[in-house]
């Protein structure tokens, strides 16, 4: 049924109306695709330097991107109705896998995050990053909005189960991202401001019990180190001191591509993964940072625009949540490397090396593209 509907000429989107034909038929949002391609190229250039001119690493990352673009393209072909129908089942699958991780997971450095399936290793939490907002959007889509308290509480329950499971792995970064993606759905659905205010009060009030009972020692250490990196210069503070030095010493103009001393001389830890923004800042200076933020901002604005233009509640909520989650990646990563936030394992989206986050993020953009090219739904 969906396929039939999608074959109909589109009249709802002015953007697409100007470019009928290939892009529309392929469910591609051209501005978004162009922005993502620019970001990909920029990221690979920085990665080449961040990985110490390891062409192999760049090629590997390009292959991940190839896979991720393919995934995005395929997801964009799926009708939103089908995505909506799948959402709760995918959610249940994800939660089951998270529970499986608790018992049969493998991991490193004291954290159990992966499931081993044959020769393939993956993080169920990555699935939830996409599926949780879809599930909440599915739940809210047919309800009258703004959501009532009951619905909000149900949503929090849907959100809370995977968030707590992931927090137990422990993976604070992912838990925060997933919780945020869910809360964004509620926020965009029009959850009353008094609830939002109340939630903020609750969060602030729960800070102390969180500190005492929930956070692990190493997580506390990260927060303490962030507040005062000098307290442990050679230990945990080392990363932050070195990344701040890298960023600061880049100045306005930067030291030049491949000329960053902090990263190339091994002072900067994780220079090709989570701390890659420090490489970019050191080598391209504040100019390079502004360029990156400009690209990000355009992507975000395009995402919001797609959401606003979407004809259905589900499409709107999903588009907005995917966009805001993308922003959380940006904010948390750039903030932690610059010493504003504690160090959690959040990559710089589409720039940090690593296949998983790229595939997940691009899958999100695939959904965004599906939303952008969906037809106004004819009420059934």
């Amino acid at each position: 049924m969906g396929d039939y509907v999608r074959q109909m000429p589109d009249q709802g989107s002015a953007d697409l109306a100007r470019r009928p034909g290939l892009a529309t038929r392929l469910h591609i949002d051209v501005p978004l695709l162009l922005l993502l391609l620019v970001l990909t190229v920029y990221g690979l250039i920085v990665l080449y330097s961040g990985s110490d001119s390891d062409m192999g690493a760049v090629i590997r990352q390009a292959q991940y991107f190839g896979l991720a673009y393919l995934g995005m393209f395929l997801i964009a072909q799926i009708s939103l109705q089908r995505i909506m129908r799948w959402a709760p089942w995918l959610y249940l699958l994800g939660v089951v896998l998270l529970v499986a991780v608790m018992f049969a997971g493998v991991g490193a450095k004291g954290a159990q995050r992966w499931l081993q399936l044959g020769g393939f290793r993956f993080q169920p939490s990555e699935i939830l990053k996409l599926v949780l907002p879809l599930t909440l959007a599915w739940y809210l889509a047919d309800r009258s909005l703004p959501p009532r308290l009951l619905h909000i509480l149900v949503c929090l329950g849907i959100l809370g189960v995977p968030a707590v499971l992931i927090l137990k792995q422990p993976d604070l970064g992912t838990a925060v991202l997933i919780a945020a993606s869910g809360l964004f759905v509620l926020f965009l659905a029009g959850m009353g401001w008094r609830y939002i205010l109340g939630a903020v009060v609750v969060v602030v009030a729960s800070a102390w019990p969180m500190w005492m009972f929930v956070l692990k020692d190493y997580q506390k250490q990260r927060i303490l180190t962030m507040l005062d990196p000098e307290s442990d210069k050679l230990g945990a503070g080392w990363n932050i001191i070195q990344s701040k030095t890298a960023i600061g010493s880049g100045g306005w103009e930067g030291k030049g591509w491949m000329l960053g001393t902090q990263s190339h001389l091994d002072f900067l830890p994780e220079s090709h993964t989570d701390f890659i923004i420090a490489v970019l800042s050191e080598e391209f200076g504040l100019r390079g940072v502004l360029l990156l933020m400009g690209i990000y901002l355009l992507i975000l604005l395009r995402g919001f625009w797609i959401g606003v233009q979407a004809p259905t509640s589900f499409g709107r909520l999903v588009a907005g949540s995917v966009t805001l989650t993308f922003f959380v990646y940006i904010f948390v990563n750039m903030g932690m490397v610059a010493g504003l936030l504690p160090v959690v394992g959040v990559p710089l989206p589409l720039v940090s090396a690593g296949g998983t986050s790229v595939v997940t993020l691009m899958a999100g953009f695939g959904i965004l593209m599906a939303v952008s090219t969906q037809k106004p739904l004819v009420p059934r």
Binding site: A246, I247, G251, M293, L301, G307
Partner: protein, 615 residues
Amino acid sequence: MARSIQLKDPHREARIYSARTVAAVLLVLGMLGIILARYYSLQVTEYETYRTQSERNRVQLQPLPPKRGLIFDRNGVLLADNRPSYMLSIVREQVADLDATLAELQQLLPISDSDIANFRKKLQRRRPYEAVPLRFRLTEAEQARLAVNRFRLPGVVVDAQLLRYYPHGELFSHALGYVGRINEREVLELDESDYRGTFHVGKVGVEKYYEDILHGDVGYQNVETNAHGRVLRVLERHDPVPGANLVLNLDIRIQRAATEALGERRGAVVAIDPRTGGVLALVSTPGFDTNLFVNGISSKDYSALRDSLDVPLFNRAIQGVYPPGSTIKPFMGMAGLESGLITPEYTVADPGWYSLPGDSHKYRDWILRIRGTGHAPRVDLNMAIAESCDTYFYDLARRLTIDRMYDYLRPFGFGERTGVDTTNERRGVLPSTRWKREAMAQPWYPGETISAGIGQGYMLASPMQLAVATSVMASKGQRRVPRLVHSINGEPVEAPVLDPIAAPDEYWQAIYAGMLEVVHGKRGTAKALAKDIQYQMAGKTGTAQVIGIAQGAVYREEDVAERHRHHGLFIAFAPAEAPTIAVAIIVENGGGSSAASPIARKVIDTWLLGETADG
């Protein structure tokens, strides 16, 4: 869906969504603004701070210690070499827990507590990124053990370093001196920048005297290092200037001949070329292996050297001062001739003793004990020197008086440092009334003049001083400051020339005649040396009393403990017609001059007739 109570209002929902999106965009812009402000503050406001920090991270200034100059003997035989040696150092900055690292290192290889104490002292004076040495001379096994464990020991570095090595350590111990690790006191005295990266300094002898020349100039390089302190590339380099090479006047053949001739006995030999002032040999026995000192001698070895009764660390050639005994007589003879109190023909009655007018004390001639009478009824200058007649010089001394004796002997270099280019030289004593008043706060007694005439009493001279005086004699009054160093980087070093002793040739000839008789005469005190001799040697024997002998008592060698026996002395120069070598020899407790004189023959034979050096 069926549970929905309210009807959905798509337009209202879209409106709400749009409003929330606007709020979200504002939130996003605000938070991106915060991020941007943070990057702006790091990259623009605090740019200088972080740029400096990143430079400091990356660039280290490393000293490049200069290569110490080599030292050769006059034949080109290498006496002081630099050989690579491996040392263990620690870069403080890169060590998280110094105590733990030290403890771990102690598990891996022997490191003494004094090594650690030394290390900690140095640590305070070096910058945190500089490598501070902890242990020297790692064996191959120790190096391997460190290499295996290196990944666990950040900041621990093994460096190759050139270390002084003395191929002929003991033979040249007192002539060359040695280098040793810079100690606390020296750290304060030495120029800090000059010695950055250098851990050794000349401690005594030529090594110390020529420290400035041997050391060279320190260089440095700015290097880029990674976070582990490994040098990645050199950004800027100023090469060090190696220290100058020294060629000494010393001749290993003579040095060896003298050392072998002294054998197990304690003594000293100094040989000088009177034409140049060059020191051909400087030997003091016993010697010691100077290599022991290069890297800090073990306390066991050190106490063995320090506590030995033979005091091997004592340089008898320049620090040892002895009564010159009868070796003073040729110089006394010159004083007599110059003062006009005697002529070569002047004679003195010799009953075997001498006494001052109005004094019953008998100053005995050594011959009295042997013959019961004097050398001859009347003794002239030639016989007085050849047979070492005391009576003649008692009389001369009385008439000359101590202060004029001082005036005439002083130009030969007695009583003042010769100024030889090494360290720790002592000046000895050339007595005078003024000296006694100042040094002992006592008046001079006439009897003391009598014994001063034969080199006994207060007079003290080092073998170096005796050799210099003999050299002045051999060159007929030409005075040169003795020099151990012949050339610096090929540039000859001229021995400083002092005002000569201007005396008529016949005076010198008169003394030479007497000194030749000592060796070649029938009744010469060293006539045994003349056997098979191929050149003319002028010499003078001497004996220095170690303990006083009571009036009327008889000194019998076999009755006296070995260390109370007389010192044997001998001075000589050759060939007499055109001298090229002047020597002074002392054999401590040798019993008499016959212990010393054969050494002179061996030394001079080696110089005049010897094979070329083999190294």
